[in-house]
Structure formats: C-alpha cells, structure tokens
C-alpha cells in the first residue's frame, strides 16, 4: 500500500500532461482522472466477432476465451515441439503492486488488463507500451473479502466494460479510456463489491456480485450495453429458499443436517432469503443457440453457522441456468444444500459436449468445485450426469464445524477456487488447478450485522500440516483423472489450453510453465519473480503468437506481490 500511494502521486503528474496532449477529450479526463497518453487504435467489436471467438487465432475476446468459457485457444504456432524457445517479448509494469487476477483481453493488437483497485490499462500487445490508463475514483466505502482484486474487462462495440470494488459498472471509450457511462450496481455499505469481469452479449452486460461473507442477497443483473440501464435482475436466493431438505450432497454423502432443528428455526424466524448471501464471483457461460446462461452461485451467509438459516438455502452452492433475454429461472442443480464449510461453487462453468450416462454425446456444462470434483451436467435440465474422481485429498467429510474447530479436507479454499478451468474438446479433457490446505472449521453464532463481515465462525489453516497444489486433467466423459502434476504450493489463478497441445499455468512462487496437455509433462518454464496467480491468455499480432499472464501475487493466500504483465513469444 505504501508503494501504491507513492505511485499515485506520479500518476497525477502524468495525467496533467495528458490533459494537454489530448485536448479534444479534456473534459472527460478532468472528470475521471483518465490518463490518455495515446489513442488505442481499436476497431469496433461486433457481436459476430464475439460469437466466433472460439476460432479466433488473433484476438482473445472473452474472459474465458469464448462464450462457452473453454479457455481452449485455437492457435498452434506455439506448440509442443517449439515451446522450449518461448522468451519474454515484453513486461509491462502497472502502478499497483497488489494481487493480479486479470484475464488479458486482446482486440486487434490492443490489450486490456486490470489491476487491484479497479484500474484498467490499454497496452500495445506487440510492444508492451501503455496506450491509456483508467484509474477508478474509488468511493469512500468498499466492503470486500479476499483482496481488492479485479479479474478483467470485456469489449463490445467501442466500449470497454469494467466492474469496480465500490460496486459500480463502468463503460469506457475503448480508444481513450474516458468514461461513457457509470452505474451503481449495489450498495457497498451493505456488503456488495465487484471483482469479476462483466460478460457482454447481445447488447447486455451481465454482472454478478461478491458479498457472501456479508449477508447480502446475491444476484446476476443484466444492463443495457449502450445506456447502462438495468434490464433484469435474477436474485440468487429466491423467496422460497428452503428446497427439499436434502440430507446428502451431490456426491451422495451425508451432510449430518439436523432437519428437525432447522424446521423449528424456520417456524420461528421464517425464510432467510434476504440475507442469505449467494454471491456470483465469476462469469456466466452463454449458450448462444439456446439463449441461456449458466453460472454458479457461492456460499450462504453466514458461511459456517447454519443454525440461523434453515433449509437448503437455494440457490447457494449451485449451478443455475436462466434465460438470457428475461433473466427467468430455467433450472438448477445444488452441490451442497445448507453448506456450513464454504465449499461453494466459484470456478466459472464451461459448456462442452459430453457423454451422458447412456454414452450419447449431448450438450453439457461442467464445473470444477471447491470439493475437488469436476461436475458434469446435462445442459437441458441442469441435472448431474457424473462427478470426477476427487482431485485433492478428502477426509472427514462432512463433519460439522465445532466451537473448538473440526478438521476436514479439503480446506475452505478448495479444491478449485475461483480459478477458471481450461478444456480441450478434442481430447475430452478439463484442466483444473487445485489447492490442498488442511483446515479446521469453527462455528460461532451471531445475528445479521448490517453488511459487516458475517462468517459465523472461522476457518483456520493447520500450521503443522503441509500444504500443496496440483494441476489435474480430468476426462469429462468418464470422470477419471487422466494425469496430475503436484505443485509445492496451493494453486490459485487459472489455466489455458491451446491447440498447440499445451496447457499454461502459474504458481504462487513465481513459476509459469507449459505442460504437454496429453500427459502433463513439463516442457518450459519461467520465473516471474512474483506469484503468477492469474489466468493466462493468448493472441497473435504481426504473424506471431503470444502467451500473456499477470504476475502480481495473491492477497488471499499471501503470495509474493508484484505488478507485471508478462508477454512471451518465440
């Protein structure tokens, strides 16, 4: 933070110079503290281009590659045979030295990245030169869990869309970084904040919310992409959140619920939906043909104390599908009813074609859970087809949290945290990065605290037990683990697969590496000097393919901070 503030002063000076240089939009600059060093020559991005993102070997247009969120990049100039020659093309240093979780977006040689505290940079994707810098003027009140992160932007038409820590949605001019419109998504004083990248599709900006640690009522909202006007809201906790009193989780294990006590509580205090949490931390997958979106909903509030929120707590810890036009509910599938471990659903779902139980290939949707399973669902009705072998050790599931602390694996960060998975449709594989952090789960009861931190207890890492991580390839047609690479530290960030037969991912110790996507063999690595805890992207410019990733460390796991965006090519 000290570093951060010192840099802010330098920035103010630079902005003043920019005002002179860019006189034609001087007014926007003054209002929004935009630094427009140069115009970014970005073409208007049409919906057509976005629809075809999965086959685009030049651009990286959506946070997770394409609307299906496959994170499978179709270029193969960089491949198994030559990846060992990969070298740094450029390193861009941002002015914020704090957690980087950004997915770089690339449009026609212009890259857009974000940093902690909701800054946006436009960078020349070939040279690494800064084109403009938007520094969000943060409101006085921010309430957020797990770091001041931002996971990126999306571009549609001439606008760049950003969601901010003070729970605003902002549309910027893609050429200059000037604010075109801004709208308040929710009240930060009530525990809402934004760290996810918006998904923009068919003139709608889709955005979820954080706040499951603050007793919010979660949602996905759709805004008009041109005006910022609200179109629909889907509340993730319906007025009847009780459900079916499920005794078992999606993998058929007993959750030891005391249904009688819950029913008595329900009679006394009613449905808890208004403060039930249910954040949506990550992007929805868009089924363009069916005009539906699929997203996962996070934990109920308070995290560990179920006694005051009777029922299944729908739709927390669930995969949910709604209609893109109207936001109306279509189907859901709950992984853990009445979760008291925060082993919720965060990693963005991916649309694939997968075998159903009869062996027929059908439109499916998969999710990597904090439980350590990859879940495979039928897109038609959300129903669960299968779940994978556990990718991390599971012990003592589902022991209930106690005052003194009960040990259970996985720890509350997973399994798979917010980190997006990658897939390789040709091989039928999903690639997930996992954490192994032995923890004890503690429960304490307290009433709803008006938007304050509301954990209902605590998760504690057991200091004497070793932590680790892994990269796991799962065959989503069978649920079997194809290969696994162990890493010395828990993994958080993301992963990218490419048509070059590779997967790229980073670690908290600064290592960024390429692996053979069929067997996990390490083929190349680089140390970035700070935690590589962000999802990589790829693009091509001037006939050359690049791989790019942020190295800024991670607040939540306290991995070494940095401020670099590193691009590699041959």
């Amino acid at each position: 933070m000290r570093q951060y503030q010192r840099n802010a002063t330098i920035l103010a000076g630079a902005a003043a110079i920019a005002v002179v240089a860019g006189a034609s939009f001087a007014q926007e600059i003054k209002q929004d503290a935009v630094k427009a060093a140069r115009m970014a020559k970005v073409p208007s991005v049409g919906q057509d281009l976005l629809n075809k993102a999965a086959n685009d070997v030049n651009n990286f247009l959506l946070t997770n590659g394409d609307y299906a969120q496959t994170r499978f990049y179709p270029a193969k100039q960089i491949n198994r045979n030559n990846v060992r020659n990969l070298k740094v093309a450029w390193i861009f240093q941002t002015e914020v030295r704090e957690s980087l979780e950004t997915s770089p977006i690339v449009v026609d040689g212009v890259m857009f990245v974000t940093t902690s505290f909701s800054h946006v940079y436009a960078i020349d994707a070939k040279t690494g030169e800064e084109l403009w810098h938007y520094k969000h003027k943060m409101g006085p009140i921010t309430t957020y869990c797990c770091g001041p992160n931002n996971r990126g932007v999306q571009v549609l038409g001439d606008l760049v869309y950003l969601a901010t820590l003070d729970a605003k949605l902002v549309a910027l001019n893609s050429k200059t970084g000037a604010v075109v419109w801004e709208t308040q998504v929710a009240d930060p004083e009530a525990g809402y904040s934004e760290t996810m990248a918006p998904t923009v599709v068919k003139d709608k900006v889709l955005i979820g919310t954080n706040g499951g640690e603050y007793g919010i009522r979660g949602f996905v909202k759709a805004y008009d992409a041109k005006t910022g006007k609200l179109i629909w809201t889907f509340n993730t906790t319906p007025e009847n959140s009780v459900g079916v009193w499920a005794m078992k989780d999606a993998t058929d294990r007993d959750m030891h619920r005391n249904i009688e006590a819950e029913k008595a509580q329900l009679a006394k205090t009613g449905d808890p939906y208004k403060t039930l949490g249910g954040g949506v931390w990550q992007n929805p997958a868009v089924d363009l043909a069916a005009n539906r979106i699929f997203f996962v909903v996070g934990n109920p509030s308070p995290d560990l104390d179920g006694s005051i929120r009777p029922g299944d707590n729908l739709y927390t810890d669930s995969l949910v599908s709604v209609d893109l036009e109207t936001g109306k509910y279509v189907c859901h599938s709950q992984y853990i009813a009445h979760d008291v471990w925060d082993l919720d659903a965060v990693s963005p779902p991916v649309l694939v074609n997968a075998k159903d139980r009869s062996g027929k290939t059908i439109p499916a949707v998969i999710h990597g859970g904090k439980t350590g399973h990859v879940y495979v669902h039928d897109r038609k009705d959300c129903s669960l087809i299968r779940f994978s072998d556990a990718m991390v050790p599971q012990e003592n599931m589902w022991v209930l949290p106690t005052k003194e602390g009960a040990r259970m694996l996985p720890g509350a960060n997973g399994g798979v945290e917010w980190s997006p998975m990658a897939t390789d449709p040709g091989q039928g594989l999903a690639y997930a990065i996992n954490l192994h952090q032995p923890m004890t789960y503690h429960v304490e009861s307290s009433p709803y605290p008006n938007g304050k931190l509301w954990l209902g207890g605590a998760f504690k890492v057991i200091p004497s037990e070793a932590q680790s991580g892994n990269i796991t390839a799962v065959d989503y047609n069978t649920g079997k683990i194809k290969w696994q690479v162990k890493t010395p530290q828990p993994m958080i960030g993301g992963i990218l697969a490419t048509a070059g037969g590779l997967v790229f991912t980073g670690e908290g110790n600064g290592k960024f590496a390429a692996y053979n996507s069929s067997n996990g063999k390490e083929l190349w690595s680089f140390n970035a000097g700070a935690g590589v805890n962000a999802p990589p992207s790829s693009y091509s410019v001037g006939g050359k393919q690049y791989i790019v990733v942020g190295a800024g460390g991670n607040t939540q796991l306290d991995f070494k901070r940095g401020n670099s965006i590193v691009a590699f090519t041959q």
Partner: protein
C-alpha cells in the same frame, strides 16, 4: 476517576462545537475541533487506549462513526459525539482525518520470538488477507500497523467478549485465535 473527570470536560466542549454553523467548511472545522482533546492535537492520542484516527482509512472512520451513532458500537463518549452527525458530516470528518499523516508513537519493535509467533498466527487465520501485507488497511478495513499496543489489546479483547459487537466476523476470528497469539499480534503490530 481521572479518566471520567476529563471525559466531562470533553463532553462540554463537544457540545459547544456542535452548534450549527452556516458554511460547510466552517462546520467541519468546528465539528473536528473537539476530537483533538482525546485523539491528539498532533494525531498522537492523549491516552494509550484511545485509537489513532489521523491517517486511518476513510471508509473505516466513517463506518465507526456510523456504528457509534446507530449504537452498533458501544462507547458512551463516542456515541454522544456521533449522535448529532448526519451521514454527510461523518463522510466529511472521515475524509478530513484520513488525509492527515499517521503519527509515529515510537513503540518498540517486537522481539524476534513475539514477531515469529505473530506471523505464524497470521498465517493460520489470514489477517493480512483483509488488513494487507503491511497491515495498512484499505476502505473499511482499518490500518493496524503502529496503532498503540494498549488500544489493540483492548479492541481485540472486546471483540472476543463481543463487548464490541459491531463486527461479529472479527469476533469470530478473534475467538478462533488463542489469547497468547493475539497478545503477540498486538505487540508485533504496535511496533510496525
């Protein structure tokens, strides 16, 4: 006894300061005039159990004043102080103090064993996941580095007993941490 006598004096001067003034800037100046008598004219509090508010996070200062006003955080004097403030006053006061420099109380660095214990305890609960790696805070999360040891100890113990009930999440985290670890953290943070 000493303490309560001084409180009365402060309350009286506080009431004077709160008479409405026409200009907003003037009103702010009058509103904050009284604060220095306890929180320090130069930012160094008069008493060790009074927190530093100079250079503290703007969002945090606002939320505390709001909580005192609502009665969510209990403290007779501070509740009386905040009772007459409107939301805009509290935001302005918070901004005013947040822009002042954080004072150096000159507290000693914690000895090695204490620091190690504190770092280990942090590793288990992840205090810096919210308070940041330099314990500088942000937004509604307070800076802790360099706060007086006595105030930190008091705040921690009142979270534990829920005497400070305005953030049950912090209470839960404190209850999940041993008293010895928390004492080490208070000493370690004071000396940073």
């Amino acid at each position: 006894m000493m303490f309560s006598k001084r409180i009365n004096v402060a309350l009286v001067s506080g009431l004077c300061a709160l008479t409405p003034a026409p200009a907003a800037a003037q009103a702010l100046a009058e509103q904050v005039a009284v604060c220095g008598s306890c929180h320090g004219e130069n930012g160094k509090p008069q008493e060790k159990v009074t927190p530093i508010i100079w250079g503290q996070m703007r969002g945090y200062l606002y939320i505390q004043l709001r909580d005192f006003k609502r009665g969510d955080r209990k403290h007779e004097i501070m509740q009386a102080m905040a009772a007459n403030f409107e939301r805009d006053d509290m935001l302005a006061i918070a901004e005013y103090f947040s822009q002042k420099p954080w004072p150096d109380l000159g507290q000693p660095r914690a000895p090695k064993e204490v620091a190690e214990r504190a770092v280990r305890a942090n590793g288990s609960v992840g205090c810096t996941g919210c308070h940041f790696d330099q314990w500088q805070g942000d937004g509604t999360v307070p800076r802790l580095a360099g706060m007086s040891r006595e105030y930190l100890a008091k705040a921690i113990s009142e979270f534990r007993t829920r005497a400070r009930g305005n953030n049950p999440g912090m209470s839960d985290l404190m209850l999940a941490t041993s008293v010895e670890d928390l004492a080490a953290l208070a000493e370690y943070l004071a000396g940073r």
